[in-house]
Amino acid sequence: MTKAQQRPLIQEFRLLATPVVLFLLVFLGFPAIVNLIYSVSDVSFETLRQPELSGLKNFAAVWSDSAFWQASWFSFRFGLLTAVLECTLGLFLAIFLSPLIERRSWLMAILMLPLMVAPALVGLMYRLVLHEFVGPVPYYLWTYFGASLSFLGPGSAFWTLVVVETLQWTPFALLLFYMAYQAIPSEIAEASAMDGAKSHHRLWYIELPLMLPTIVVALLIRFIDGFRVFDNVYVLTGSGPGGSTASLSIYIYEAFFKQGAIGKAVAASVILFVVSFAVLYGLNFIASRRKGAIR
């Protein structure tokens, strides 16, 4: 095909992609601009339409707010811990249970069930599970050990949330790893068995390296989802006790809805916006370079 023939085709492709681009411009482009303007303005609910420029005051307010740093630290620690726990557990289960699941795929459906339930509902369910009078966990602890813990009190709330998140999302890692494990060609297992390799050697030197890209991707996805956590934490602890379980998402939500500090909430959004896109595009860049190297 010549260039002249190709042009109308490209125009038609552009036309097909137009709706989604327009939609994104309206629902993300416009909000992004509002974010930027408000983040450098003195703005309150009364002066929404006439924001007055105030330089970087809002950013300074966020920067010097210890709650912001506490929330950042919570998000980071929560994301990292849950990602590592979920992937470790998921990897073990995927490999250890694969002989069972291969023959009875409905077992996987049972393990995947938690993924279908809204995290907000799971959070609410744990209010029941951990309740001191009607919850079975404190009840059984009292019955068999004669003592119970204050699961959502200071000190333990963070760890309770880590367990709640890990138990709900380990199935995600398990599923990804099971698929990757099944995708390893059976010839590899047969060939290494012929060479007399022991099964744990095969696992360590052949299968795990083959699954490594999937492991990295799963760690990344689970870190991101843990980092931006909102639903289950919000319904279980709010942000308490004493703001110790506020994630960055909850920090921004509360700055806006509970304190009416629009400028601060928006400035924190802009910081999060810049950091997350920088990190994501950085990762894309690394991934595409590595792909190029392999080609």
């Binding site: 492709f13 974010n35 250890f96 069930l113 809204a118 909430a265």
Partner: protein, 273 residues
């Protein structure tokens, strides 16, 4: 011996991961009297009273409205996302348009904390009178669903042989005609997968439901938390459990029926995305 260990591991994992669901189910079947005496997992005298009570509409709590809202916003958010993603996916996969700009941007959207757009969207919705409307929440859920729908559809169209398009081009069909008459029918499994996946995601969404609705358009995830806001005399745990089971049921059933497709698309979104 090792098989027994495997079964033990399976039983432990399945029990631990589904524990909150089991507890809620068991509590929802307990009578008010049993609730105060038996916090254990086993129900001595199962009853459906809590479910009957949940479906009694009061001026404060209306479960039918919450379910209807969730259904409507999930349908808007799912159908619109696929309708927007399909033509774009075709342009990306076949026209190589925006392969390095639009596609990575939308895919990255899946990983961005969406709260960063929430405050301006809240203000925008106030100006447009979209706050507390099903349409408004549905539009936001479209953004939430776009990335995965796009990845699934781009991958599906990539996997189709190019001869399919070329043969139709020879017959004088336009790209738009090819998309709707040739590509879309062949891609039906991928379209169905993105619809199911989107529906589950949208039904389970909480943050935007919490921020953008107050009474008329409240979805079930937010409505369920209303049952925990006690109206004097503490939380009625039996009712609260029943509403959670009802609210979790649609996506769980859909997921169980279609879990093969879903597991496939989860890996697609993760590995290629």
């Amino acid at each position: 011996m090792i098989t027994a260990l495997r079964w033990l591991a399976f039983a432990t994992a399945a029990f631990a991961m589904n524990f909150p669901i089991l507890v809620t189910l068991s509590t929802s079947l307990k009578s008010t009297r049993e609730l105060s005496t038996n916090p254990g997992l086993w129900v001595q005298a199962p009853t459906l009273d809590n479910y009957l009570a949940v479906f009694q509409v009061t001026d404060r709590l209306n479960i039918f409205l919450y379910l209807f809202n969730s259904l409507s916003v999930a349908l808007i958010g799912t159908v619109l996302a696929v309708a927007l993603a399909l033509p774009a996916a075709y342009a990306i996969a076949r026209g190589r348009l925006g392969e390095r700009t639009l596609l990575p941007f939308i895919v990255n959207l899946r990983a961005v904390p969406l709260i960063i757009f929430a405050i301006p969207l809240y203000m925008m919705f106030q100006w447009l009178a979209l706050l507390d409307t099903r349409l408004g929440l549905g539009l936001i859920l479209t953004i939430v669903n776009l990335p995965l729908a796009l990845v699934i559809l781009v991958n599906a169209i990539h996997d189709l042989p190019a001869e399919l398009d070329e043969a139709a081009l020879m017959d004088g069909a336009s790209r738009t005609q090819i998309l709707f008459r040739v590509i879309a029918p062949v891609c039906r499994p991928a379209i169905v997968t993105s619809l199911i996946f989107g529906f589950i995601t949208a039904w389970n969404e909480f943050l935007f439901g919490l921020m953008l609705t107050t009474s008329k358009a409240v979805p079930i995830t937010v409505g369920a938390s209303f049952f925990f806001a006690a109206s004097g005399g503490g939380v009625q745990w039996g009712m609260a459990s029943a509403v959670m089971i009802v609210g979790a049921l649609p996506p769980v059933l859909l997921g169980l029926i279609m879990y093969r497709q879903i597991s496939g698309s989860m890996t697609a979104g993760a590995v290629k995305g």
